[in-house]
Amino acid sequence: MKFKAKALAGAATLALLSVAPAMAQDVAACLITKTDTNPFFVKMKEGAEAKAAELGVSLKSYAGKVDGDHDSQVAAIEACIADGAKGILIAASDTKAIVDSVKKAQEAGMVVIALDTPLDPADAADATFATDNLEAGKLIGAWAAATLGAEAANAKIGFLNLTPSEPTVDVLRNQGFMMGFGIDVKDPNDIGDEDDARIVGHDVTNGNEEGGRKAMENLLQINPDINVIHTINEPAAVGAYQALKAIGKENDVLIVSVDGGCPGVASVKDGVIGATSQQYPLMMAALGVEAIKKWADTGEKPQPTPGKAFFDTGVALITDKPAEGVPSIDTAKGTELCWG
């Protein structure tokens, strides 16, 4: 309530100030996310709004109707240009197709920052604030291999991926897991070209419980001795656990995941998920709002993390069963940092 009152007071002052012609420096920014239904983006919006209120930036939020809704995002960019905003934060649904619209925004004098999902090509945006998804995958892969120990050589691994179209986050997490586990990935941009005998199969989940459960059941049909499961996110992992529980195998299988949402961290604590890589959407959004403010004030663009093509907002492995050689934090710490 306190925060709300503050924000209201801030907004009221802002409104008053913007009436005064001498203070027409009101910085406007736009946040465009993939959907309003994914808690990850819901949290991202909260983070951006909080930071915007703090810095006196007026923020407008837009979202696609479903993941993949490109048209709504283009319309949002056009609205931002018409609004005379200083900058756009965008998690693009279609990383290639959005580039033309992004160019228009840049020509209109805006700074465009990609959040969570790099554009294609990545330098089409002025900066990218994102989780290193390959690193997120490597961490859970390494944890699974270290936890199995010598048994890792005989593991039976199933992959629960995102959608049939294999978006980049899906590929990065999937291939990262394999690298971390010690599987030869062949082409690192392609899911499914590996010939390691330990791989039982791949299936898609649409990133939800129902899909996770169905996909897990399907993989168990291919080989009931699966003992390691890589899941694209925590809802899919929870669905997979339901399938395993139904046949009484929930304790025989290591499930690893990526996201670090609060329900997911609680699932790690309950032992449903062995380990998860946590990402930080609130931080992405807050840093993005700061960057737009800085661009408006000084004309300075944000710099990427040294050695990477994007600004790495960090990733941490969360587990209560730490494995030697794999840095991790426990669920107590993870709960403090979690989102959603």
Binding site: T37, N38, P39, V42, N208, N218, P235
Partner: protein
């Protein structure tokens, strides 16, 4: 007048039968007739063919009681929704909102238990009320305001989806928290074994629903009214059927069936996630109904065919998976099945046309 007159004598050689159509009964024509009188036959034949095909391709692993019952578990939720959808389609309508009505119903059930700490039975009742209410709203708009079902349910689809997301703030309710409060919400997840087969109560619910609806559609006045209204609403009206009331009841019943799907879905998935609203359950339900031989023009088709239609999609999905096919193939083949099903439906209709 004892003797027939001269010109009447030829009558003795003329035909005495009643006028009738000449029928050339070719094999194909006979098949068409058979399919016309048995609308569930086509999907059943396809289903059996698919099972045999994958049985040969994948052997015992596919052709086992366990796998076949697992497929039923996988399709239970969509199967129940498809049954509700079928009733609406039989009236020559369509329900695009049925999937989000289901999601809203399970969000209500979960929140009543967790947020308001109500007893499970109250929560479940509330879920059914919301689902039935959603259906009744559709029925009212279709029957009283005479709006096209497609438009009405397109509207309520969006409205209910938005209300569901605003209301729930998109918070996922976890299984552990729900289970700590009550077991009742998860009751349809309970399974029992019959030999190698593993059957969940969700599957039992689906099968019971289909048998019940089959009886209702074929042996009760209300059921026959649904067909009559769908086939020709004006004729039904003239025959004394209160078409408005039949429509209202049908949409409401479809909503209540979505409520049942919601309960079954909680049992299967454990946790409750409002963002499931974006899953295309309504289209999956329509797909199952169409593949099952329900005519989108109303008044034609058997509910048992829909059960086969649902299973066809499930069998194909599982079979292709076990063959290691890319997920895209499932999507592609589903499209082909939809068009094939409607093409066959059109061909069968010609028998009477």
């Amino acid at each position: 007048m004892s003797q027939p007159q001269e010109f009447e004598k030829v009558l003795g050689q003329s035909a005495t039968g009643v006028a009738q159509f000449e029928e050339r009964r070719s094999g194909l024509r006979k098949l068409q007739h058979f399919l016309h009188s048995n609308p569930a036959a086509v999907p059943m034949i396809v289903l059996v063919a698919l099972v045999i095909f994958f049985g040969f391709a994948r052997g015992e692993r596919f052709f086992s009681a366990y796998t076949l019952t697992l497929i039923m578990q996988q399709v239970a939720v969509v199967g129940i929704l498809a049954a509700g959808q079928t009733l609406v389609i039989l009236t020559a309508g369509i329900d695009l909102s049925i999937g989000v009505v289901m999601v809203f119903a399970f969000v209500i059930m979960g929140n009543f238990v967790l947020a308001y700490e109500m007893p499970a039975m109250v929560a479940i009742l509330a879920g059914f009320l919301i689902a039935g209410g959603g259906g009744a709203l559709n029925g009212y708009l279709v029957s009283r305001l005479k709006l096209p079902p497609f438009i009405v349910t397109l509207g309520t689809w969006n409205i209910i989806m938005a209300i569901c997301l605003i209301y729930s703030e998109n918070a996922t309710l976890r299984e552990a928290d729900l289970t700590a409060q009550t077991q009742w919400l998860h009751i349809f997840g309970i399974s029992f074994k019959l030999g190698g087969a593993v059957v969940t109560l969700g599957v039992v619910a689906m099968l019971t629903l289909y048998v019940g609806l089959w009886y209702m559609l074929n042996n009760t006045a209300f059921g026959r009214h649904i067909y009559a209204v769908g086939d020709d609403p004006d004729a039904a009206d003239l025959a004394g059927i209160r078409t408005n009331r039949v429509l209202l009841k049908t949409y409401t019943l479809a909503g209540l069936i979505a409520g049942l799907a919601a309960w079954v879905s909680i049992g299967r998935n454990g946790s409750i996630s409002p963002s499931t609203v974006v899953t295309d359950f309504n289209l999956q339900a329509i797909t199952a109904a169409v593949i099952g031989g329900i005519s989108l023009f109303g008044g034609r088709g058997s509910i048992l065919g829909v059960l086969f239609g649902t299973l066809i999609v499930g069998v194909m999905s599982m079979g292709l998976n076990m063959l290691g096919a890319d997920p895209q193939w499932k999507v592609l083949l589903t499209g082909i099945l939809i068009i094939g099903a409607v093409a066959i439906d059109q061909w069968i209709r010609k028998v009477s046309g």
